[in-house]
Structures are given as C-alpha cells and as structure tokens.
Symmetry: C2
Subunit: 375 residues, 2 copies
C-alpha cells in the first residue's frame, strides 16, 4: 500500500502530510507569498506583482485539498485560491534534510588534483555549449578552471573575460600586466615568490573572479601555486574551532594606497552563511593593514591567523603547475588562493596579463546552459 | 602636573599607560605586526614584506621605552626593534571608546531632508576639487547625492559613472533606459509606480552605486521617492528587536530570469558588521524569490518582513522630488532605496538612463581628496 498525501487546515494554517517524509506545518505568509498564479507573479519574467503589505495581516487558510498531480490547492480568507504543483512543493520543502540537499557542495581538493586539472580548449569551448557547460560545472565545484589555446596576443584576457562575464574595470585598468618592472608599485610586478593570496581584499566588493593569461614563460621558475581556501578553512574548523570562529567573526582591515588611490576594506578572513557553510575566504599578507578589534581578542585572533596561514602553506594542499603560453587560469577569487614561485627575469621573459570579472555572470551562464541541456 | 606616558614589559608583553586614558596590555603579535619599519613594510606602497608565519611563535618583548615624541619603542626577543609614533598609537588604540569613534557614523535622514538636498552642478564639480570633496562627503554621510547640469545627451550617465568610478557592465549593458516600452521584460520599463527598493539583489555582488540621469520628464507623475534604508533598519531595531535580528540573520532568495539570464542570490534584508552597525539593506519586492529557511522560522520571519516593509512606507521617511532634465541622482544601492510615483505616458515623455558603478572608487577618491585638502 502506498501512503497517500493528505492535507488539513488546523486553526487557519495548512498542515501538509506528504505520502513520505515528515509532516509540515506551513506558514500562511510563506505559502501565500509563494503563489505562482498570473495575478501574483508576472507570467513572463516571474516578478512579483503585489507588495507584501498588500496581503491581509490576518491572512488564514480556509480550505485545502490535494490536487490530482499530488500538488496542493489552498483557499485563503481573502478569497484568493493558490495552486502548488507537487514538484514545486518537493523542490521547496523546508525540512532540514531538504534544505541540506539544496546547498552547494563544493568539491574540496588538494595538490593531488594536479593529475586531473579542470581544463578545456578555448576555441572548442566557444564552439560547443556542452563542453562549456561541463567546464562551468567543474569551475563551480572546484573554484577554478584552466583554459588552453587562448591566442597569445596582448588584450586577449579581456576578450575571454567579456565572454565569460563582464570585465570589471578598476584603478589598474581593464587589464593588468604581471611582469617584473623597474620601481614596481606592487610586489606582484617584481620577480619574488608570492605566497598564496586572494586579490584585492582592500576593495569593496573584492573581485569575484580573476583571470591570468600567460603570454610568455621563458624565465626559470614562476610556477603557479593554487590552494583551496575552502578546504583550508574546513581544516582550521576541525583542528581549531575557536580560532575558526574568531576569523569568521572578527574582520581585519586591508588597504592599498598609491598617489591617486586609497582603497580600504574590512573583511573577515573566513565568511560563513546562516547554515555555517564557508562562502568566502580572503587572505592577503601584503595588503593586510591592521586588526581593529577589542584589545582582549587581539592575541587569540593572531594565534588563529597564524594557524590558518600555516595550513595554507601545507605542501599537500599546494597545487603546482606551470602556465604555458596560451594558458589562462580562471579563479574564484574568494575561494581559490593563488601564488607563484620566484623566477629569474635575467634568464628569460615572463609575462602574464590579468583581469577581473564578477562571478554572477558565469553562474548565470551555467544555469542557462543547464536549461538547454534538459530540453 | 601633567600625567606622563609610561611603559613596562611584564611577562614578555608591553603594558602601555598613556598620560591620559586607560592602560593597554598590548598583544605581542598585534604590536609587532604593526611595525612600520622599512624592513617590515615597503616604504613606497606600504605592502607588508614578510609573512605572519615568519615571526617567531614565541615572540616576546624584551624592553620598551617611551620615545621623546610620546611614542613607543619596543625591543623584541628576535632582536628586531620597532618604533611606534605617538600619533599612530592614538589613531590605532583598541579601547571601546577609541574603536567607537573610528566607526563611520551615517547621518540618518527623513523626507524633511528635501529642504537641503546634497546637490552640486556637474561642470562646477569637475572644475573644483574642493566642491567635489564636499559633495563626496555629503554622499558618504547620506548615502546619495544629486548632480545638476549633466548634459542631456544619451550616454552621459556612463560618462559620469566613469568619472566617479568605473561603470559596471551587466546583462543590461553598460547603461539601461528607463521608459515605458511595449512587452517590457522588467516592471521598471512600464508606467506603474514602484515601491522603494534596492536594485539587483539577485546579483552577487549587488551593485554598489546606481546612477539615474533624467533626459526627459514631461509626463505628469513619475516623481522620485528615496528612503534611507539604514534609518528604516534602525527604526525596526528599536520597535521590534527580534524581527530585526531575524532579518539580519536569515537570508531570502532573490532571482531574475529571462531567456538568456538566470541570476540568483541569497541576501539578508539587513546586514550588520561585527560591531552591530547596519552596513547594508537589500529590499526588492519584485525580485523576491522565496525564503529557504527552517520551517519553524518562516512565520516569524514574515512578520518581521511585513514590519520592515511597513516602516519603508511611512510617509515621513519618504523623500520625494522631481528629476528635471540634466539631473542625475547617485545612490548607494545598499542603503538608499528608490522608487517612483506612477506616470502617464500618454501625456508626455519620461526618459531616464541609468548605470551601476562600484562604491569603492568613490570612497577612494574622497580619501585622496582629503589628503590634498590637508596639505
């Protein structure tokens, strides 16, 4: 015997008992505000056509019934009738299990990922939406992806940026050159090694995505280091929960200043969402300004900062590879930290170009390609 | 008799007693990481030249002395010597009073501000840095500013955006037109009134600043409504602390979808920083998608949502004015909510152009102009 869905109205609220799974005492406001009828939502663009204050304060359900498809029909105290499809109810269930299953589950990685880099040839990706979708899915899971066969012409990185999303112009311009120069304004423009970091935490908002395109790599050294900041944060949470909590709660000040610029931002090194899931990591030794926190927290915060910095240096977390001319690495800037080994500019040229884009356009593209993949 | 500064090292830590104010037991890591010597920070760009893990784990102060200028000199267990100027110590004190005085203090406003709008003529602002600084200071305090005499030519809004900061390109393009069109993809492109809202909460990150430039305003109606979202949030905190806390903790899902776009973001309606200060308000009825929260929180969250929406509609909070051709309103998108009254497109034309920029470039410009103003 198959259990049947059932529904009843108790004291003006809908009590929904699906055939399987826990009962659900539904909030009237929540349920009504999710009405998808053409009077409530624009059928074309899905925008809401009323304001929340337009609903009666004492809104109650007066009747409820199971629809033939297993969905739900509710009649409201103001006379409105709402239908909820079975699939919609399933996709929007609020039980702890249902909510957990909807969360993004990033694939945490270590240096061992080197054997299976998320890589696609740029011309092939442009020609084949299925390949583009597969690469975007890998990017979403891992927080970075590699493109090959990007033409080795100056300015191409911004072309790639404008195809994946929209280039974000900053005080560094539409794109920036990474090579050693005399009198550098930034250590990135020297030949020293750089520990892993996220770019521009002194900016509000920080760049969502960074692209680095290799034009020349003759100089010995200058290999690319990547570390999964989400993985490092989870290691800190496991090994030092109190330290994790301090870095999550107490922000540090970051700063960049030159003759025409004075950028300042306060950011926590680790950001979590309401479910406790790590959503962002900002770590940049060079542009760390100072900790403006209660004096009694300072020593404990620094102990956590040191612990996190040490985790980020564990060799097993470091993914090391060498960018060849035509390679372009695309990194989620608030997850995948990047650095480089030192190089010898006297024994060959090394020239990268980079730009920033926002991440939402890449995520939008992934979801749109998924729509087509389903049809 | 004037109290003297004094300092001693107790158990390896610096205890600083300024001539006035509370004693300060200084964290060794904090103090050393703030060393400004040329070996620790690049004298040109201020970037940090060592990594936090390079400092000894058991770092201790071995001696400390008051400098002639009232500053502090510390000798460390690894032999390094750090000097801290008196002014630096004062600017970076960690007492509760000192920290509170450093926080941004937005000037909360109501509709009564209409008598003293923060306004500047665009050509004059371009010619006179002191005027630009004054306008930027007003913008920073109030969360919006008005520019007049912007040439009434299409595309000018992006010119203004690229002068105040850098235009942020989105799926709407570099700029967008706000006028009624047939088959609108967005309610903004109809003639209906719009309740106050922030733009694009479905984007990650949401736009920091919105510009709206008036090219034509012959149609009766279509006045601009602004509400100070920070003020509304503080009213909610006072009148309904539990509701404020729910909106601060529990995010809602926002969404925008059309044929080529699928933008989704989770945002709290109110964001506060570690000190409890309101830092962002996101409110948009039209693009509200749904609340993905524990079922038992839903009804209470909706009660808070209704309460906040009602506060945003209080007539005394509404600043109402009419944009004339050549006017351009510049709004901090996560603070100053905007809307419009309905207009009659059959009785005259109404045409605005808008664009988005990030807020950090405007803030940088304000701080750089302040440097010059001091010298």
């Amino acid at each position: 015997m198959v259990a049947q869905d059932s529904v009843q109205v108790v004291a003006g609220s809908v009590q929904w008992q699906p055939g399987s799974g826990p009962a659900w005492n539904m909030s009237n406001d929540w349920l009504r505000d999710n009405c998808r009828c053409a009077a409530c939502r624009h059928p074309g663009n899905g925008q809401k056509l009323y304001e929340i204050v337009d609903l009666p304060d004492d809104l109650r359900a007066t009747a409820a019934a199971v629809l033939p498809d297993g969905g739900l029909q509710v009649r409201w105290s103001d006379g409105h009738v709402s239908d909820y499809a079975a699939a919609w109810l399933q996709d929007h269930a609020l039980s702890e299990d249902a909510r957990r299953s909807r969360r993004a589950h990033p694939t945490l990685w270590t240096g061992a990922l080197g054997a299976q880099l998320p890589v696609a040839d740029w011309p092939a990706l442009l020609a084949e939406p299925a390949l583009e979708l597969a690469w975007l899915e890998q990017y979403a899971a891992l927080g970075f992806g590699l493109l090959r066969k990007v033409p080795t012409e100056p300015g191409q990185v911004a072309q790639v940026g404008d195809r994946l999303g929209f280039v974000r112009v900053t005080n560094y311009g539409r794109l920036f050159d990474v090579k050693s120069v005399p009198n550098p304004t930034n250590l990135a423009y020297t030949a020293v090694g750089l520990g892993v970091h996220s770019d521009n935490p002194y900016r509000h908002p920080s760049p969502g995505v960074q692209l680095l395109h290799c034009l020349e790599s003759e100089a010995p050294g200058g290999d690319t280091l990547l570390v999964d900041g989400f993985h490092a944060a989870e290691i800190l949470r496991r090994e030092d929960p109190a330290g994790f909590d301090l870095l999550r709660r107490v922000p540090m000040n970051f700063r960049y200043a030159d003759a025409g610029t004075e950028l300042r931002a306060r950011q926590t090194l680790i950001s979590t969402d309401v479910d406790g899931v790590v959503r962002a990591v900002h770590f940049n030794n060079r542009s760390a300004d100072w900790l403006d926190a209660p004096a009694e927290l300072a020593q404990a915060w620094y102990a956590a900062y040191r612990a996190f910095a040490r985790i980020l240096k564990r060799p097993e977390l470091e993914l090391i590879f060498r960018l060849a001319p035509g390679d372009c690495v695309v990194m989620q800037n608030d997850r995948t930290l990047h650095g480089r080994t030192a190089f010898d500019p006297g024994r060959g040229r090394r020239h990268l170009q980079g730009c920033y884009i926002d991440g939402d356009a890449m995520e939008s593209r992934r979801l749109v390609l998924r729509r087509s993949a389903r049809t």
